[in-house]
């Protein structure tokens, strides 16, 4: 699973040395992933590292595990390839995005953190919107249940806090 995907091969055919230059990424559990420089720089974090010229032996990503890194790479490859503006492409990309975030919550949580750490705006927007959609219309109890969050308020606080936005509870 650590090898470049079929997409990587396709990009190799592209003209221009810079674009097809391969970058190696190293996950927190030391797995290595190759991807094209073009796809890699969708992450602002990696782009800065490349500019600062410290990537000869690969880009270390201590905050991102291999499972998530593989998913992020898939996301980036897919979005880098989709350069045309055709309506068909846009529809396909939309379906890709929709199924991409149909994951279990721990994975979604990790995707958000990874997208934030790697500074990939598109993925961050997508995953935050997914979480927002999961919150919409739910009561406090339902939200806690959905995300497995423990209520860490004291009973006094639970009474006091609604008063700050009393209108919502009237």
């Amino acid at each position: 699973m650590a090898a470049t995907t079929a997409d990587g091969n396709k990009v190799d055919e592209a003209v221009g040395g810079e674009k097809s230059k391969m970058i190696t990424l190293k996950s927190s559990d030391s797995e290595q992933f190759e991807m094209t420089r073009e796809a890699a720089v969708m992450s602002q974090t990696i782009q800065h590292m490349i500019e600062d010229d410290c990537v000869d032996s690969g880009v270390p990503l201590p905050n991102v595990g291999s499972k998530i890194l593989a998913m992020v790479i898939e996301y980036r490859n897919r979005h880098v390839d989709a350069s045309s503006d055709s309506a068909g492409e846009k529809e396909d990309l939309k379906s890709f995005d929709e199924s991409f975030v149909k994951v279990d919550q721990p994975t979604l949580f990790d995707i958000i953190l990874a997208a934030n750490y790697l500074d990939i705006k598109g993925l961050l927007d997508l995953s935050c919107q997914t979480v927002a959609d999961m919150i919409k219309g739910k009561s406090v109890e339902e939200i806690r249940k959905t995300f497995n969050i423990k209520n860490d308020y004291t009973p006094d606080e639970e009474e006091e806090i609604p008063r700050e936005n009393q209108w919502a509870f009237e």
Partner: protein
């Protein structure tokens, strides 16, 4: 991979990104989930809970302020009405109609989107009232000296067509400072003595006709405001000298007489400007109350941005240090800034003496109902 902590330990800046995608009305629930989530929620004041009093010193050059009778805060935003010296003629929910008589300009403004719609020049320099029915029809009425009525209609693209103009009959002594009101498809003008004059657009040639009944209010009053209630009844708010008495009368459409109301039946009245609004509200302490557009202190403002999110508008104070806990959330407490009266509690009436009206103010409503 960090699963040790879970969603309750999501960093605040990420929580804020998620929160920004939720409408304002979801933010209180978000804050109650757990402590970390609450730290992402900043103070905000919904603009849709009750009607707001839009007020400004000059419609062109000074910032608009919105007074909320619920929060008892006058929010000042970085917007002007961009119509110097204009008169605010009427309000329909989120739309306000302004007139610059010297230029002959009338415009309809959507306060939430800042869209301005200009009407063609009015046919005469001055009209006593300019009112919209909220459904794309504008009526300009002059009842002094002799009646003149002009009407204008908006098409589906939002553009206003030309004015139709009619000169009519004799002068009507209309009640000042109170707009005519639409009721049952007709335009009702309240006359000084409590009588009503009615205009039917379909019968243009007749102008306003004075109804035989009602003949009078049966009460002495200094100021009068006409309103159509939330249940389509025609009512009038009668204010005694300096606010020391207040009566609400409803038109009994069988007998065509004004009848005094003992209670507002749980509703709330927002009055004292050309437009009066009557609404049902779930807020207990506001029920059966009448709010007049008079404040003790107009200069007590909070600088805020009006932020729209998913169709809901809220005021976000500019100063981070704004103390929300001590902000007055209205109740019976002493020191309420807007003058109000509870129907059926005459012994609690206080007179107007320390309050003032604004130069330019009108009740607007940002709720979607």
């Amino acid at each position: 991979m960090s699963q040790e902590h879970g969603w309750s330990s999501l960093p605040v800046d990420l929580l804020i990104l998620i929160l920004n995608r939720l409408r304002w009305s979801s933010h209180p629930s978000f804050a109650l989930v757990c402590r970390q989530w609450r730290s992402a929620v900043s103070p905000f004041y919904p603009a849709w809970i009750t009607p707001l009093l839009l007020n400004t010193t000059d419609a062109g050059t000074t910032n608009v302020q919105y007074y909320s009778p619920y929060f008892q805060i006058n929010f000042e935003v970085d917007e002007t009405l961009e119509a110097s010296g204009a008169k605010i003629c009427c309000a329909n929910g989120r739309y306000v109609t302004l007139c610059q008589p010297r230029l002959g300009l009338v415009m309809n403004v959507d306060l939430l989107t800042d869209d301005f719609y200009y009407l063609p020049r009015i046919p005469q320099l001055w009209f006593e009232y300019i009112v919209s029915d909220g459904m794309g029809n504008m009526f300009a009425v002059d009842a002094t000296v002799e009646q003149a009525i002009a009407t204008c209609t908006q098409n589906s693209d939002g553009e206003w067509g030309s004015w139709d103009y009619y000169d009519h009959g004799p002068e009507l002594r209309a009640s000042p400072m109170c707009n005519p009101v639409f009721h049952g498809g007709l335009l009702y003008l309240l006359l000084e003595d409590g009588r009503l004059a009615v205009y039917d657009k379909c019968k243009d040639e007749h102008g306003f006709e004075i109804l035989n009944k009602p003949q009078s209010f049966g009460f002495e009053c200094k100021d009068r405001y006409l309103v159509e209630s939330d249940q389509h009844e025609l009512m009038a708010v009668l204010v005694g000298r300096r606010g020391m008495s207040m009566n609400i009368v409803k038109l009994n459409e069988q007998t065509m007489e004004w009848e005094k109301m003992a209670s507002l039946e749980g509703r709330t009245l927002f009055t004292g400007t050309l437009t009066t609004i009557m609404k049902k509200t779930g807020i207990k302490w506001m029920q059966n109350k009448i709010f007049m557009a008079r404040l003790y202190d107009w200069s007590d403002v909070v600088y805020a941005d009006r932020v729209e999110c998913d169709g809901e508008s809220a005021f976000v104070p500019k100063s981070r240090g704004f103390d929300t806990i001590n902000a007055k959330v209205g109740n019976e407490a002493y020191g309420t800034n807007m003058w109000s009266y509870e129907l059926g509690q005459p012994d609690k009436a206080t007179d107007f003496w320390a309050t003032r009206e604004s130069y330019c103010s009108i009740w607007v409503d940002f709720s979607s109902t």
